[in-house]
């Protein structure tokens, strides 16, 4: 299922999660899903399970780490937080994303000659 999604979406989700953890500090998977839902103003409909695929990818690369904590239900939950290398990666990705957005923006803004 997650494989069907395009690479762009995968990379985008990774970037969004990194940024979310950078901005809000440690969160569990449910919290991340809520935050992304809220920010995208429901425009981005996502299968929340894919968050976990993304989290696994990020953890394997060493960009995030996780710890056990208590959820709002007072139950055990895994909290994810961004690492130092994760922050560096975020800066790089954000910059390239920005550049790409600028380029696309310019391309789309051009007038008919």
């Amino acid at each position: 299922m997650p494989k069907d999604r395009s690479e762009v979406l995968q990379g985008t989700l990774d970037l969004m999660i990194l940024k979310t953890l950078d901005a809000l500090g440690p969160l569990h998977g449910y919290g991340i899903a809520r935050r992304i839902e809220q920010l995208s103003e429901e425009m981005l409909r996502l299968n929340e399970g894919t968050v976990y695929a993304s989290l696994l990818r990020l953890a394997q690369k060493g960009w995030i780490r996780s710890e056990w904590g208590a959820s709002e239900n007072k139950r055990k939950a895994r909290y994810y937080s961004i690492t130092r290398t994760g922050r560096k990666q975020l800066a790089r990705e954000a910059e390239s994303w920005q550049r790409m957005a600028d380029v696309i923006g310019r391309v789309l803004r051009q007038e008919k000659a």
Binding site: P2, G29, N47, T50, E72, N73
Partner: protein, 886 residues
Amino acid sequence: MLREWASRIAASLSRRRLDAEFDEEVREHLDLLAQRFIAQGMPAAEADYAARRQFGGVTQMKEHVRERRALPPLDVLVQDVRHALRQLRKSAGFTASAVLTLALGIGATTAIFAILNAVVLRPLPFPQPERLMAVRSIHRRAQQPTELSYPNFFDFRDRNHVFERLAAYRDQQFALTDSLPPIQVPGEIVSWDLFQLLGVPPEVGGGFQPDDEKPGANAVMLSDELWRSRFNGDPQIVRRRVHINGKLFRVAGVAPPGFHYPVEDAAVQLWITLAEDAGPSEATPMTEQRGARVLESIGRLKPGVTPRQAQAELDQIAGALAEQYPDENKNVATTLVQPELERLTGNSRKGFWILLGAVGLVLLIACANVANLLLARGTGRAREFALRTALGASRGALVRQLLAESTILGLLGAVGGVLLSAGSLKLLVPLAGDNLPIPRFAEAGIDLRVLLFSIGTALATVVLCSLAPAAQVIRADAAGFLKNSAGNIAQGQHRLRSALVVGQLSLGLVLLVGAELLMGSFVHLLHRDPGFRAANLLTFAIGLSDTRYDRGGQIAFSDRLLETLRAIPGVQSAAIGMPLPLEGDEMTVSFDIEERPAPPSERPHSDMAIVTPGYFTTMGIPLRRGRDFTERDDAHANRVLIVNEAFARKFFPGEDVIGKRMQPGATNGKEGVQSREIVGVVGNALQVAFAADPQPIYYFPYKQLSWGIGTIVLHTGTAPLALEPAARAVLMSLDREAPMYLVRTGEQRASASVSLPRFLTVAMSGFAAIALLLTMVGLYGVLSYAVARRRREIGVRIALGARRGDVLGHVLRDALRLVVIGLALGMAGAAGVGHLLGSMLFGVRPGDPLLLASAGLLLVLTSLAAAYLPASRAASVDPMQVLRSE
């Protein structure tokens, strides 16, 4: 990338925990989602469903994470290992016996390899050790390597273009008399650049300089041990002068800790330069005697030069020298250049490889036992495998599981083996090491190479052990398993297991014969007459300073010493000899027989010794003809000699040797060659323990040829060592600065001379005993299994009237058949092992039929003993019970 792999491997190892955790994480997520929907007003029943929809496929996601988290092949491996561990735990008895058997085999193999590694394989402890070459001459007539003389060494050193450096060395005892009590230390007289050649800079000081070879330079290098123990590690030692042999020596430096040279002589404590041999002496200095071959030599090859090229050039130089100095050099016109390591390990190399081979056979036998155990277990598990096959497990999966089990067994065996070998080395090396004349033996221990060897052996063993059970799984088909309830399989398997036992029996015979040969040879060595009385002998050496005692002084001192020693209660006689029997062919000197004069290079030669009057009685060497030396055989009297029977037989066959005259090359220096008359013949005392025949030797009276003081020998009426303190006190009273050292009884000397054969014999017998035990366990196992399998048949036969004796005989006959086949196959191997041991045997013939027969008989008897239990179990089968149980 690396991090990702690490995380995946870690995940594979803790899969189950991670799975559970992820399940929990997802469940929590779903709960929170559902709660949120309920808070938004959704009915509880719908909320769960909605949560799942919003999450996406829960199962797929779990599967995806599980797959991505770890390494699938590793996952499988971990699963296999887990399963194998579970299986092994379930049958603890099987596991224990397999691991123990493997540990025994691997442990013995590891121990022997550790020794082989320490003694033979380990490179020399110097930089670029492969370029270090031992250089010797080859004696034309003896066809044996021999030492170099100083002039020849100097010519080799100056003329060659193949060595970066070439150094000479010879051993010498030195007395340190700076403080009391004086001590005697072994040392070496060496070329100034030996340390540079070896690539070992001194720990303290600048080392020898070229000028230190000049006569009178008197410079010494100390060992680290001597520096610390005798000089308190004084950092200013190089400013000091120390008294050695009564002379003052400048300390040129201290060798680094652990430095030994020559490598085989760890006791060497100091090195002085060959200036010692160039110094003013009463005769021509040794450095100028071309005929005095006393030097060992070592060279460091220039980069890119091969030993063969080096030898070719030295041969050329030796050839030229032989033409230039035919009298001294005609017999040493060729050389031997061989790696120093080879020279060092030459004598023991073969013995250790043979032991490793023997212990390898033990390992094979152990392996057969483990294979047998695995096979037996395989039968028991036929149903398990059949079931798993029916449920879809591939053959590959089953073989993989067997392999996992065997690998775990192997690794456990390796752990046990390494522990076992480390323990036995720790125990045995100090016991054997002191007496064994094997360089570097004492350094045997477990290092990385030994560890790798051990693990490699374990894995190879495991593969070998699981071949048979794996083949069984591959051949069998699931339907067969279920249909036959393992009947057919068991039949084929029984044949396989019998074959394994036959193999064990034949290997066991090989080891048994090898052990018997060595044992027989050793007993022969022990029981053969050494030609002297080893009992009630006390021997020791003393260090007399050359500077304080000239030749006359030494003779006077030895007279006084022997006289005082004889006065000790319990001393029956006292004498001096150099060298003593069993000390090897220390002094070989040529002589000219007056009736048959020959040019110098063609003269006969033999061992010689210098002894005081009363030496032969003290040593218990019988006088056969003529007379013993007396006190009157001194420098003013007629020059005389005594020879042994072997000498008379070899050089004067069929003649009366008494009264014959000869001119030995051994002289007192200035006096030159003298004609001597043979006045007596004594019995043959062994000079070398392993010589096949007694060697000829001729004896000089000490007062007519004094080459320094020899070894003191006391014939005692009581336990020899009890007299040591009295002897020490006597020496102290005569010269406070003369150390007493190398105190040994005659029996210790005799026993030390056979320590290598003793070691080989003990090791080989141990291996043979283990092999026998393992083989019997294997035989017992196979027979027991066969009896258990045929219980019903046996029961029926007994019910039909077979007598118990018949049943017993039947099983024993089965066993005997295996033994006979095993023996027949083993005979060829046994002949081979005799051939291999060949040169190491004394007084036993490898092909001796009596010996082969006795080994065979031993194997048959122990086999019958091993077979008796299963056989009697068969005979006591109760037919009623068997038939009822159907």
